[in-house]
Amino acid sequence: MSNSFEPTIIGFLCNWCSYAGGDLAGVSRLEYPSNMKAIRVMCSGMVHPDLIVDALKKGADGVMVMG
């Protein structure tokens, strides 16, 4: 795989923990690659598998569900 590969990663982040963690990473100025786009959910439990399969089918290179 070439080094120029820029994966598109979709993150489902729970408002109460991982989304908060993402915010804190910002406050703490921790750097990470910009490939992940976060979708805020009120609980990782609300992420239907269809969403994940759908995302992968439509071309996402990775999906993270964090909660």
Partner: protein, 311 residues
């Protein structure tokens, strides 16, 4: 003026055509409104001219086209394209046409595995050739119609309940939009439901569910809640017809096998069912053959060949 209808059967068993006949007296009313210009199951009308004298496939033009069965070989594909070309509105009739149906179970295997299994048994000589003469070459797998041609109306069911067919045809005749069911088999199932309770594993259907044969269906506990794998929640309703019958399998005290395919045309019975079971704390590894949840909807790349095992 009657509406011209062309019908074709592809990778199918003729059960859907029998379902049309099963319309009974309704069929008599409908026939006056319909003119079948091509329907091989009933009428002798050949693809390449009655004498086989034409070079190209020729199906007469029709307002409504009905196709049962999915697409498995070159011939099916050619016929399907011709139907699409000649018909204004195309109906995919039956689950084989809408989701691949039982024949799409082959999608777990590739053609080589199929030939090996079929033509090479313990008693066959090694090296025997696979016959090709007069047999249309297979496509790589079994397709639902809408994977190859545009479909206007999906009428799933194995076979579709005659009431569904009547509803669709009547809607077309009246110029109304036909809305397929948006609910699952549970909608018309009268069994007692409470929630999944303490079920933690799925039982194989080798024991008899609990019910009293003297009592009506609405006195029986939901089969899924009894721990049997019932596809009702992830299967489109319709098998109960339009007159308040119970779902066909449930009426026989047998769990729903999923013959109407997923609730939404692009749904995934396997994924939805396993997800729902897992959410309910049921150990999905207790289901011996999970792919069987796709036994009617193996097209659309739902069932795929994992030759050499899952990677």
């Amino acid at each position: 003026m009657p509406v011209k209808v062309a019908a074709e059967w592809l990778n199918s068993c003729s059960g859907c055509e029998i379902a049309i006949l099963n319309l009974g007296e309704t069929l008599l009313d409908l026939l006056a409104e319909l003119e079948f210009v091509h329907i091989p199951v009933l009428m002798d009308h050949k693809h390449y001219g009655q004498l086989g004298d034409q070079e190209h496939i020729d199906i007469p033009s029709a307002t409504v086209g009905i196709i049962s069965g999915g697409i498995r070989n070159d011939e099916h594909l050619e016929v399907a394209h011709e139907m699409r070309k000649k018909c204004d509105v195309l109906i995919a009739l039956g689950t084989c046409a809408t989701h691949g149906g039982i024949p799409a179970l082959i999608n777990s295997y590739d053609n080589q595995e199929l030939f090996d299994r079929y033509y090479s048994t313990e008693s066959t000589d090694p090296g025997a050739a696979v016959p090709t003469n007069g047999i249309s070459p297979l496509l790589d797998r079994c397709y639902a119609l809408d994977e190859q041609i545009k479909v206007d109306i999906h009428l799933p069911g194995c076979p579709p309940h005659p009431d569904n067919i009547a509803q669709a045809v009547l809607a077309l005749l009246n110029g109304d939009a036909f809305e397929p069911e948006t609910k699952s088999v549970c909608d018309t199932c009268p069994a007692i439901r409470k929630g999944k309770g303490n079920i933690s594993t799925i039982k194989r259907f080798v024991t008899t569910p609990e019910f009293n044969p003297e009592e009506s269906l609405d006195q029986m506990q939901c089969l899924l809640e009894q721990g049997y794998l019932c596809s009702g929640p992830v299967t489109r309703s319709g098998c109960s017809g339009a007159n308040g019958e119970s779902p066909r399998c449930i009426a026989a005290r047998v769990p729903c096998k999923g013959c109407y395919g997923p609730v939404k045309q692009d749904g995934n019975q396997l994924l939805d069912m396993l997800n729902a079971l897992a959410s309910n704390g049921i150990d999905i590894s207790s289901i011996p053959d999970r792919d069987s949840l796709l036994r009617f909807s193996g097209a659309h790349n739902r069932l795929v060949c994992h030759k050499g095992g899952l990677k």
